[in-house]
Amino acid sequence: MKILVTVKEVSTVEDEFEIEGTEIADQYLGADLNEWDDYAIEEAVQLQEDGIADEVVTVTIGPEECEQTIRQALAKGADRAVRVWDDSLEGVDLLDVNAKTEILSAVIEAEDPDLVLSGVQAGDDSFAATGVSVAENLGFQWGAVVNHLEHDLEEGVASVRRELEGGVEELTELELPAVLTIQTGINEPRYASLRGIRQAQRKELDVKALADIGVDESTIESELDLTAMYEPESESDATFWEGSADETASELGELLRDKGVAQ
């Protein structure tokens, strides 16, 4: 069985930052492997270690700089990677769900996996929609917000748990091929070993332009226009206690005594 994992490099933002137009100024941005995708990679690698998957391939939409993040996934055990980028994507503020769906679907169609694992959401744009959209687009089954997957995928069926609100889980059976969006906590993502990191350098990382995967530029034009970005107006009417740690701690101590919740 072949598993494809969608891997995104997300932008992280420092505590203090400035906005330029519809972007956060570069100097306040960092880059990281999307937290939810880390769990998806781990799940795929575990399926491989259990002898269920023969191959784990990652797919990323992103410029060359995100290869360091892709190498992290390879270092954790993925076999090879596909990265899609194109000049026409340069400078796009926000790639909407439909655009990502078109691109990822094209790669998935070419790779023909049995199972696609994707993070529930990306930590930066938080759409939480791409996995399900891709599944529908390809005629695959799907499950959103999966926090448990039975590792014996019998007769083409995946038994999953979907994590609903309020501590309730839904037990669901899905026919393969399917896309699962993976929730944090499903497993314990590993750190890449030194050996893994060394091996990752030699693994295949295929770079493809839109034309290579048969996607026309016009089909990925974002229908959603990011028109403004701003810091939310602070609604804070909190009392900020100032001073050294022992001063602020004693303010808090006094509050707790006043409220009668601590002695």
Binding site: D15, L94, V97, N98, S126, F127, A128, A129, T130, V132, S133, A135, E136, G143, A144, V145, R161, R162, L164, E165, G166, G167, V168, E169, E170, L171, T172, E173, L174, E175, A178, T181, T184, G185, E188, E223, L224, D225, L226, T227, A228, M229, E231, P232, S234, S236, A238, T239, W241, A245, T248, A249, E251, L252, G253, L255, L256, K259, V261, Q263
Partner: protein, 318 residues
């Protein structure tokens, strides 16, 4: 095309609060487009649900009786057929776990853009302006799109609709293709029981990713002991296996309402806040003065938890 079709949410026989919120959001949009607000109620005891949902501002309720519980294939088929029938401008759904399990599929099938987790919506009848957050709530953005769209709304952002409405209630004869149903829901399970019930506690000391390492949890345990408080946490602490699931506060964890909630090294992501905003008094200890938790805190200490917590322990033990 000016109408709005809003899809309601229910689970195990009960409508969820967001079903009443989506009436308010849908009504506002329908007023702006000059159209009608249609509700869809799919699966479960639809007639009973429809009666409850018949509140002020709803023009029509369409019931689709098929199965007891949510199944995304049934929802996707029913909604796309309702869309073909009603030709609304906007399809609204909750940004709930179920909403996220069908809204993107509906959008893709109908070849419409999807915009998720919106916190504000405005339209002039043609252009929709959707407000949503990025980077875990650090920034807000406005996003514009033309024409029809599928939009999911964040819970607790719109008030619940009230009053009694005079909507028409009609059974919609959806043609559900059983062969196209590739997923089966076989049951539900409550998780997170165990030794302590954090929802009963008067004083919660709650820790988040700011603690960095599992060993550092001892410091927070000492604090909880010194204060006679109950220990709870944000999700990453539970994901890491540092505390059991029954200690998780939030959307997918427990809802808590203590007299005092001390959020230590917790940013205040919306899914966390969903579980603790009903606390009587909220105190945040965080190095980031702009963390979203500050918006709901009553008191705040902007400082390193590793400096403040030992002092606080001293205060009560010394």
């Amino acid at each position: 095309m000016t109408d709005v079709l809003a899809v309601t949410d229910h689970r195990r026989g009960d409508l969820r609060d967001v079903s009443y919120e989506i009436i308010t959001a849908g009504r506002e949009l329908a007023d702006e487009t000059g159209g009608d607000l249609h509700l869809a109620v799919i699966s479960g005891t639809v007639d009973d649900f429809a009666d409850k949902l018949n509140r002020d501002g709803v023009d029509a309720i369409h019931t689709v009786s098929h199965g007891e519980e949510f199944n995304h294939d049934v929802y996707t088929q029913a909604i796309t057929q309702l869309y073909d029938d009603l030709a609304p401008q906007y399809v609204l759904t909750p940004n709930s776990v179920n909403g996220l399990d069908y809204a993107p599929a509906v959008a893709n099938q109908l070849d419409l853009p999807v915009v998720t987790d919106t916190i504000d919506l405005e339209t002039d009848g043609e252009t929709l302006v959707a407000t949503r957050e990025m980077y875990g709530g650090k920034v807000e953005t406005t996003n514009e799109l033309e024409g029809e769209a599928v939009v999911t709304i964040r819970s607790a952002e719109w008030p619940q609709a009230e009053g009694t409405g005079d909507a028409s209630i009609e059974a919609f004869d959806a043609d559900i293709d059983e062969d196209a149903i590739g997923s089966t829901v076989s049951g539900f399970e409550e998780v997170g029981g165990g030794d302590v019930d954090i929802s009963e506690a008067e004083l919660l000391v709650s820790i988040g990713r700011g603690i960095e390492e599992e060993e550092n949890l001892d410091l927070i345990r000492d604090l909880a002991d010194a204060l006679g408080a109950t220990l709870s946490s944000s999700r990453p602490i539970v994901d890491n296996g540092w505390l059991p699931k029954n200690r998780q506060v939030g959307q997918s964890g427990k809802v808590v309402t203590p007299d005092v909630y001390i959020a230590i090294g917790i940013s205040g992501a919306v899914q966390h806040v969903a579980g603790m905003k009903g606390s009587d008094t909220i105190v945040a200890i965080n190095t980031d003065p702009n963390a979203p938790i500050m918006d709901i805190a009553d008191y705040a200490i902007v400082d390193d938890l590793f400096d403040v917590v030992p002092e606080l322990i001293d205060e009560f033990e010394g």
